[in-house]
Amino acid sequence: MQRQLERTIIDDTILVRQSQHGDSVAMGRLIVKYQDRVYNTILKICGNRDDAAELTQETFVKLIEKIKTFEGKSAFYTWLFRIAVNLTFNYCKRRAKVGMQSLEAATGPEFDGARVHLGMFLADEGSVDPAVVAQNKEIGEILVGALSKLDEHHRAVVVLRDIEGMSYPEIAEALEIQLGTVKSRLSRARANLREILETVLI
């Protein structure tokens, strides 16, 4: 895992350096490499596919414009996510109520089965594969709806940790906050999300 991360960083360093010298192929490779992860993160924070696509484009446009200013003090990966998250936060400020309808829609009768299923999974110590549960479309919508009920800072920290899989120091770099703040914010965000889910589950 550590070796893979190191190779990723080395690969990124080479591609970034080439991009800084105007190599459009290298820049294209960087975009292709990170487009899904950036899009997925933005989508989970903003909750709207079209807006997520727009914000992803904007993120990479900014990346191209700013690539020469990247000094390598942090990992390219966290630097890129910082751009993405900041753009998404700005978007969230403009549309404060984004995602509210998702959870309300997920509380309808057609979601009853999914909610029961989800409640049992969370309380059960059984060995049900979480990936199988999460592949359930309705459960996925309930989870995303619950995420959208968090404020954007809590949402971002949960998305970066539990979905994107970033380490605490990487989250601290991407969100430009202290490591201690990452811990406390993540703890509170998880507790809030749990409370939100408990209100939805049957």
Binding site: D36, Y39, N40, Q57, E65, I139, L197
Partner: protein, 339 residues
């Protein structure tokens, strides 16, 4: 268990499921969940919640994202698209160079304009002129500022920008009486507001600025002064300092005739004639011509048709001041010098 403690447990469990605790922290959490079922339940829910979120399907970016980004970049202005490159390009330097040049040219233009405007509107600009100095004859010409000549106490402060200027000098042994007479004449001709009197140790100046008609009226009243003066001369300032005309032993009729002329050319022509004529009289002796004039019942001789005078000094081509085409206002300096 207080609220702060719960928060600490939440954070502890959160770090525990993320593998971010030290060995000691992990041991503590294990001890906690062994002795407290609620903590164990909470930890289970947290783990499950994390697993679920981690297992959510990863949404793929829309197809053609790279093309969309290229299209988006193409829509942006070149300067915005290439950011730092544009600053470093030769085109940008050239543009900057042109802007600097344009700004410099504008500054120079504004500076020249300011100098021109300043020279036009500045009151002091009219002071630096050539001034004719009385006392040394028409050939004595000094160039300097008006103030400097006034301070010297010997100059005729004749020159400012007023049209048609002349100086009448009266040299007399009865300066007190003559000054009184002049003051009375100025008063009776209602020229008090038009006159600036100046007293000097040996002379008195009256700067009179008025219309031609008023100056003629004043000189009419001053006719009686002539007989009480030893010398009377009239200086008519011409286009240039060198073209100033001094009429020696000028009579009151001659002075009136010159000052009454409306056109500058005629005024100058007549002044020259009188100057030559009076000089001729002086050279032949007063008895000759003046006696012949007196025998005809005339007090003085005024030629009706001026003869072409000979130039007493070379013409100077350069103009000293603007002269109006027609007469009008006159600036006459009457100087009474005590003998």
């Amino acid at each position: 268990m207080n609220e702060g403690h719960i928060t600490d447990i939440e954070e502890l469990l959160s770090c525990y499921i993320d593998g971010e605790l030290s060995e000691r922290g992990r041991t503590e959490v294990k001890r906690l969940i062994q002795h407290d079922e609620s903590v164990a339940g909470k930890l289970l829910k947290m783990k499950k919640q994390k697993q679920l979120l981690n297992s959510l399907p990863i949404a793929s970016a829309p197809e053609g994202l790279v093309e969309d980004i290229k299209g988006r970049l193409a829509k942006r202005p070149i300067s915005e698209r290439f950011g730092l490159d544009a600053d470093e390009s030769a085109g940008a330097r050239h543009l900057l160079y042109r802007r600097v040049l344009t700004a410099a040219a504008m500054f120079v233009l504004v500076g020249v304009l300011a100098v021109v405007v300043f020279s036009v509107i500045m009151p002091g600009s009219a002071l630096r002129k050539d001034v004719a100095i009385e006392g040394g004859g028409p050939s004595e010409v000094v160039t300097g500022s008006k103030e400097a000549l006034v301070d010297s106490g010997r100059g005729v402060e004749a020159v400012d920008s007023y049209p048609f200027k002349a100086a009448l000098e009266l040299a007399t042994y009865e300066s007190i009486a003559i000054n009184g007479f002049i003051a009375k004449a100025i008063y009776s001709n209602d020229l008090v507001d038009n006159t600036i009197p100046k007293r000097h140790p040996t002379r008195s100046d009256y700067h009179v600025t008025c219309t031609t008609e008023q100056i003629v009226g004043l000189l009419d009243d001053l006719e009686a002064v002539w007989v009480r003066c030893e010398r009377v001369s009239l200086t008519v300032y011409g286009e240039t300092v060198a073209s100033d005309i001094v009429i020696g032993s000028v009579t009151s009729a001659q002075a009136i005739a010159v000052l009454a002329q409306e056109k500058p050319d005629e005024r100058v022509e007549l002044a020259k004639n009188f100057a030559d004529f009076n000089a001729l009289i002086q050279s032949r002796g007063d008895e000759g011509i003046l006696a012949s004039g007196a025998s005809g019942g005339e007090k003085e001789f005024v030629p009706s048709v001026p003869v072409k005078p000979e130039l007493t000094r070379p013409e100077q081509p350069q103009a000293r001041r603007d002269q109006p085409e027609t007469g009008g206002n006159v600036n006459l300096i009457i100087t009474v010098t005590g003998l």
